[in-house]
Symmetry: C2
Amino acid sequence: MADDSARVLQGLQGLIRDDLERTNRIIMEQLTAEVELIPTLGSHLIAGGGKRLRPMLTLITARMFGYRGEKHALLAAVVEFIHTATLLHDDVVDDSVTRRGRATANSVWGSKAPVLVGDFLFSRSFQILVDHGDLKVLKIIADCCAVISEGEVMQLVVSHDLNLTEERYLQVVERKTATLFAAACRIGAVVSGRSPEEEERMFRYGLMLGNAYQVVDDALDYSSSRETLGKGVGDDFQEGKITLPVIHAFQQGDGEEKAFWRDSLAARDHSPASLARAIALVRERGSLDYAVSRARAFAAMAKEELSTLPPGPERDALRDLADFSVDRSY
Amino acid sequence: MADDSARVLQGLQGLIRDDLERTNRIIMEQLTAEVELIPTLGSHLIAGGGKRLRPMLTLITARMFGYRGEKHALLAAVVEFIHTATLLHDDVVDDSVTRRGRATANSVWGSKAPVLVGDFLFSRSFQILVDHGDLKVLKIIADCCAVISEGEVMQLVVSHDLNLTEERYLQVVERKTATLFAAACRIGAVVSGRSPEEEERMFRYGLMLGNAYQVVDDALDYSSSRETLGKGVGDDFQEGKITLPVIHAFQQGDGEEKAFWRDSLAARDHSPASLARAIALVRERGSLDYAVSRARAFAAMAKEELSTLPPGPERDALRDLADFSVDRSY
């Protein structure tokens, strides 16, 4: 499956190679600031091997709709800035040590600078959008940022809480992750001047894609090797995040297993032995398969939204991307 | 002087009582969110006895220019949101324990939630401004937020650095503090539809007022009682912030004194004995008086900007405010 995943991403990149290069140039230009630490810290993460998935959504959506201008590259850069700002703050909030296989900004510079550089990236994003002058795109991004922060607070509130339902978990996923995928897609439609219906379809596509992506991400935390994901296995467990594999394994578990989950996650025993037991239980109870099946359902809904949109290589790539979001590294 | 200070603030509040009440109502309305922790944490700080200095600047500027509408209250609420967001992030970055005489949000809820709620307040501010629909105000706030975060990063970079010059210190002050004062004033002129020259005068007034205010704030950290400021004396010293009293005392100090500053601030010995010595040296070297004289010069420049603006009780209040920014609690 890993080969297929690489093929999907490469296919996507091939369709928008020039756009993506332009976006990368804009990102580096817009990172400039009076204080050298801002571009240094910002580019540590931005240049550090991200997939550029979210800006690619803006670019490829615009191309699918026949957009021939260059403004989409600027907006795609904003999408990546917003993503980077949330990652910087996330890693501080989670005390994360690695991301994308490299040390996090907070483990290099401490937690102070990433908070402030994240703020800078949010602000610079709005500066770019104001200069762009489109209130509609500004609204999409402002709404998106508010929803993301609500989702992050929500996740914080429910951490360590084994009473978390699947429904509530999915609300967190939609807010903290899928919203930016959806905004990225909607912006691609807006910059192309498409109808409200097409905008809405792309928004829904992004939302379902993002849900699938995050649910799989949460499953991979209990299954993949450190190398594949570029971050540690068991991070969520260590941080007391209650994700779908845990919700499922806890609900399916017998009394002794339920007690284990309570003793480890709720009571914050995150020892290596506990993690090993957690991974074993998630596997035994079929909880990874369950999570992947939920993700596959989201991916199917994402593809469904594409059915009436302009056919061609871009739409095919978006369809493949929905599959990739489930199949990657799995 | 304390009585005079109270009189100035009360006089100001009296002129815009209804506006300020409307602003406070809007603040509480706009704090609502799906997750209860957001209004809870947000109102802990917002309802916790701030002076509302920055939103008052927007309100009173608009009234001075004869504005008779109600939109200025909404924009003043945004100004307070931005201020609150920066305070939440500041207190996390500085590990501060008290603010305005109460526990900081991070000392009540830990550092995670304030980072995210700060992000929410930034986002909500932009949502409000997008709904307001005025790109000019959006630009003022977006630029302001970018400059503030640059100033904060700059401050972080120069912390513990006794080579910091007065000039560079003042650059930090202007960026991290005065910029929002200036934006608040400019917005009051913009909402009133005044000329670019009047806008610029109010911006300059706010910038000079903010500089005076922050320079005095930094001096008070080496002089006032904990009760007066609502925060601890010596906070800046503990955090290794190099402020004007220290720059002056270091430059004026003899070899032994210079060694003390290096041993304490640069080498991070923040013991109570060190703090006591620092306070004594700052006093002996006349560094507080020096800082206040610099602040007074900024206040004079602020008042100078007002000279051609519409006379009346509002302009008088702005003039008194410039004096207050120097004389408060001193």
